[in-house]
Symmetry: C2
Subunit: 250 residues, 2 copies
Amino acid sequence: MKKIDSIQNSRVKQWKKLQTKKEREKTGLFLIEGFHLVEEALKSQDAVRTLIISENIDLPQKWNIGDIELYTVSEAIMRTLSETETPQGVIAVCEKITYDVPLTNGKFLLLDGVQDPGNLGTIIRTADAAGLDAVILGEGTADVYNSKTLRSTQGSIFHLPIIKGNLKGWITELKKQNVPVYGTALEHAVPYQEVKPQGTFALIVGNEGSGVREELLALCDHNLYIPIHGRAESLNVAVATGVLTYYLRG
Amino acid sequence: MKKIDSIQNSRVKQWKKLQTKKEREKTGLFLIEGFHLVEEALKSQDAVRTLIISENIDLPQKWNIGDIELYTVSEAIMRTLSETETPQGVIAVCEKITYDVPLTNGKFLLLDGVQDPGNLGTIIRTADAAGLDAVILGEGTADVYNSKTLRSTQGSIFHLPIIKGNLKGWITELKKQNVPVYGTALEHAVPYQEVKPQGTFALIVGNEGSGVREELLALCDHNLYIPIHGRAESLNVAVATGVLTYYLRG
């Protein structure tokens, strides 16, 4: 275990840079914080590269640290690295994971420009709970490695493949593999109960304001809507994802 | 139309006080802001008492202001009254509405200690979309009139009765009226698909961390859970509310 007291330490500066998307994309690394998220990361093979803890913190006995690099830091350093108001005193530097996902016989969620970091995290958590096989982040979707998104996933980021992709390409490939692709739309769409629950499907949900792009909807096998029985204009996109994925998987 | 330029104006001070829960409870008034929320409020009979707009703002032609008090204020005043980073320049002082809700043959959502303002707002929006008849805010639930909650409702606060209540009392009354009452729990519960969709029901969802209190679960006709097919520990409470209400109403 190594100890760092100076906020000017070059490692501290490097870690802090990971708060920016630019640095995360350059290095392929990202930060997570808090006991629950770090514990989920430790369960995920090779995800954690470095563990950083406040000097006053005891690590839980059950954590299997193995030969992961471990640093203790002053509370001042922890505060500068943390992106929460009340840091728990535990941060991990993780490596982005790359996945190879087979396209046959799976359940897929495609996101077209979901912008709110909290929504994105909650959607990933929902996809995990519903047992989906992968989440594809299309053009214009928020950065999955920002701290608010990671927190909202509650660790699900480590539970299923999350892949950046070109949605047109994905839809074309999925259709070739006979995976039915369902868009979501308010017009030219059918109530979701008109399709049957099934073992393989791809669902596309879209931007909070503008929904799924027309050019993608045109490629889908069916476009679905969730009937609005009251006077709301629409559902929150994470709630809609929950209703549709739980229905479709049956 | 009256014009206010001084941030020291006594009305401005009174309005600003409505940012606190204490003042809202004392006066029965609350603030909403932004074009969409104010428009929804204007559609709701007698909800808006006073309209406050920035001097550079034109009100939409379609808004029916009637004899509502109207003030224009300087941008500095708008910034002090606004609770968003980029104020739209429109704020309304609204009166809390009281409701008399018949307990027979309805669809009800009971909230036991939902604490996150964003979750609470999203749940109210979801209940509106699902066509529920009322949302009952039990003990320990966040204040529905805080700005983050109101924003997350997207106006649904004006679409259905939202009532503070004692949940034990409500459950007892609902059961007397033969409304089946469903709790949500991870243990001693059945998968939600084991009950049938139905025309009248009451669903209870609980605190983000601890769920619905045991003493309430003991009073329910059945307690339901949403199966977790992946490795997430649970669903976000607003997402769970969406899955269950859309299933139960059929």
